[in-house]
């Protein structure tokens, strides 16, 4: 290997390396640009996903009532039955009403928050909480309705329901609930009570089919509500009146 040849080879190698360096830099830059574009597509897809979620939520929220006034409706419906409850049970019912009023206040707050935020952040907690609160309210209303309907009819069923609600701590005083810091926990127990009652209702369904049906249908807000008029009319209301008064809906809906 002579020096001359090696010098030439060195020059050739240098050029080759320079060319490779240039290609590598170019490729690096191109890959960076490609990643940026892929990121743009990915972010855009996420945004579309959010927008679609917002549209879906808007349609869903439209079906949700702005108001929950079941506590008022049931208080009015109960007036004629004060004597049937007796002093002790009436006191506990008052606590149940307070509990429902708290849920209703929370529902109103969540409704206001969810109907504002869904557009900007469809994953905000208030939206899911609103849906959950709505279910809890329906469950509370079911229990209240059952108690009012049965207090002067099927006394055995009435007491079974009453005891089951009492066992879940729903009749605790405000201070007791505060001490337990359990408003949310008690709300969650509602579904437990309902499940228990569903079994109860299922067992008595043959003799009390009407009541079973009314429990099934109250959760629906649409016009296909299948309430049995004989039950409700005993309280002096039509089905549509009741739905309308609880949720502030128009009768033709």
């Amino acid at each position: 290997m002579s020096n001359t040849i090696q010098s030439q080879q060195l020059e050739e190698l240098k050029k080759l390396n320079q060319d490779l360096n240039i290609e590598n830099k170019t490729l690096n830059k191109l890959y960076q640009n490609l990643k940026a574009e892929v990121s743009v597509i990915s972010k855009s897809e996420d945004k579309i996903k959010d927008y679609k979620k917002s549209i879906e939520l808007e349609n869903k929220l439209k079906e949700y009532p702005s108001s929950a006034q079941g506590s008022v409706f049931f208080q009015n419906a109960m007036v004629s039955k004060y004597e049937a409850f007796g002093k002790e049970h009436l006191e506990k019912m008052a606590r149940f009403f307070t509990f429902i009023e708290q849920l209703e206040d929370e529902y109103h707050n969540l409704y206001n928050s969810a109907t504002t935020i869904y557009f900007e952040d469809p994953y905000d907690n208030s939206i899911e909480n609103l849906f959950k609160m709505h279910d809890q309210l329906i469950e509370s209303y079911k229990l209240m309705l059952l108690l009012i309907l049965e207090v002067d009819r099927d006394q055995l069923l009435y007491h079974k329901i009453f005891n089951q609600i009492e066992d879940q701590g729903i009749f605790l005083s405000a201070n007791e609930k505060l001490a337990l810091d359990q408003l949310a926990a008690i709300s969650n127990k509602l579904s437990g009570v309902i499940n228990g009652l569903n079994v109860l209702i299922s067992e008595t369904q043959k003799s009390n089919e009407i009541l079973g049906k009314s429990l099934e249908s109250i959760s629906s807000l649409r016009s296909d509500i299948d309430w049995v008029s004989s039950d409700i009319s005993s309280l002096g209301y039509e089905i549509s009146d009741m739905q309308s008064e609880i949720w502030g809906l128009t009768k033709d809906k």
Partner: protein, 304 residues
């Protein structure tokens, strides 16, 4: 029915109740007014019934509560949201076009790069040749230095492996200055020198002594004027003394156990050995190696 009796009962019923005492007074009054006891009892029960009804009435007239409904929220963002979706779809479309164009450009550059890499792979022979030449140069350099200093370096690892692709004058000089030189081999040489010259000294000096003790000048001895093997006696004496000095010098070095050269000598010799040609050659080899190596790095680079 006596109006007087009714008024009397109504007065007593103002508190809503009729005591036994009051009841007795009512019957006495009725008796006075000539109203039979049975009739009085009917009137009393009738009036008490009315009072009872009055007291129960307020319970039925509990005022109905009026629900306060909250206004329904205006939920009309669907159009706006759909417009936003349209806008995002356009952004995606543009980005997708750009992506395709970039991908095509990337493919082209990958092709160019691959051909350059193929070309780089052809330099594998040069790599082998460079190693062999480099080692040869280093070996030669070491051998020349050892010859000049008359000793050898005792190596832990091979000199040419240690400095392959990274030799330079300073590092090599430092290496040889800090190296362990083979003193054992040198001592053998010194011993041979000592024995040889001391032997020569004894032979020559013994001859002169024998000649001086046992032979007279008349007998043709050393002291005589005649030459011995062509040398005069005093010349042999000088040769004997020189041999003695050289022999003793070698002995003295053996005893001291030191090299004949120092670090300065090493530096001086290397300065001579590192002539311009050697220096240029090493520099070229190093650069070539760097370039080949840099080429290697590029080859192994991956793009995802």
């Amino acid at each position: 029915m006596s109006k007087e009796l009714v008024d009397f009962i109504n007065i007593l019923l103002l508190d809503g109740e009729i005591s036994e005492k009051e009841k007795r007074q009512i019957f006495e009054k009725a008796n006075t007014l000539g109203i039979p006891e049975a009739e009085c009892e009917v009137i009393l029960e009738s009036l008490m019934g009315q009072v009872k009804k009055k007291t129960l009435k307020p319970k039925k007239s509990v005022k109905k509560k009026v629900p306060k409904y909250q206004k329904k929220a205006t939920l009309n963002k669907v159009d706006e949201l759909n417009q936003k979706i349209e806008k995002e779809l356009k952004i995606q479309e543009n980005a997708s076009i750009k992506t395709k164009s970039l991908q095509s450009e990337i493919d082209n550059h990958h092709n160019i790069r691959n051909s350059l890499i193929e070309e780089a792979e052809n330099y594998i022979n040069l790599r082998k040749q460079l190693k062999s030449e480099y080692e040869k140069l280093l070996k030669q350099l070491k051998s020349n230095l050892e010859n000049r200093l008359g000793s050898e370096v005792l190596e832990e690892s091979k000199f040419e492996s240690k400095f392959l692709y990274r030799a330079n004058k300073n590092s090599i000089t430092t290496y040889f200055q800090n190296a362990t030189w083979n003193i054992g081999g040198l001592t053998t040489k010194r011993k041979l020198r000592y024995y040889f010259f001391t032997g020569v000294y004894y032979i020559l000096f013994g001859y002169i002594w024998l000649d001086w003790v046992f032979y007279s000048a008349e007998d043709g001895g050393v002291i005589s004027k005649e030459q011995w093997m062509g040398f005069k006696w005093w010349q042999i004496l000088i040769a004997s003394l020189i041999s003695m000095i050289i022999g003793q010098s070698a002995k003295s070095k053996i005893d001291k156990n030191k090299m004949d050269f120092n670090q300065e000598d090493i530096a001086k010799n290397l300065e001579t050995l590192f002539n311009k040609n050697v220096k240029d050659q090493i520099e070229l080899y190093n650069k070539l190696h760097d370039e080949l190596n840099s080429n290697n790095n590029l080859k192994s680079r991956k793009f995802n």
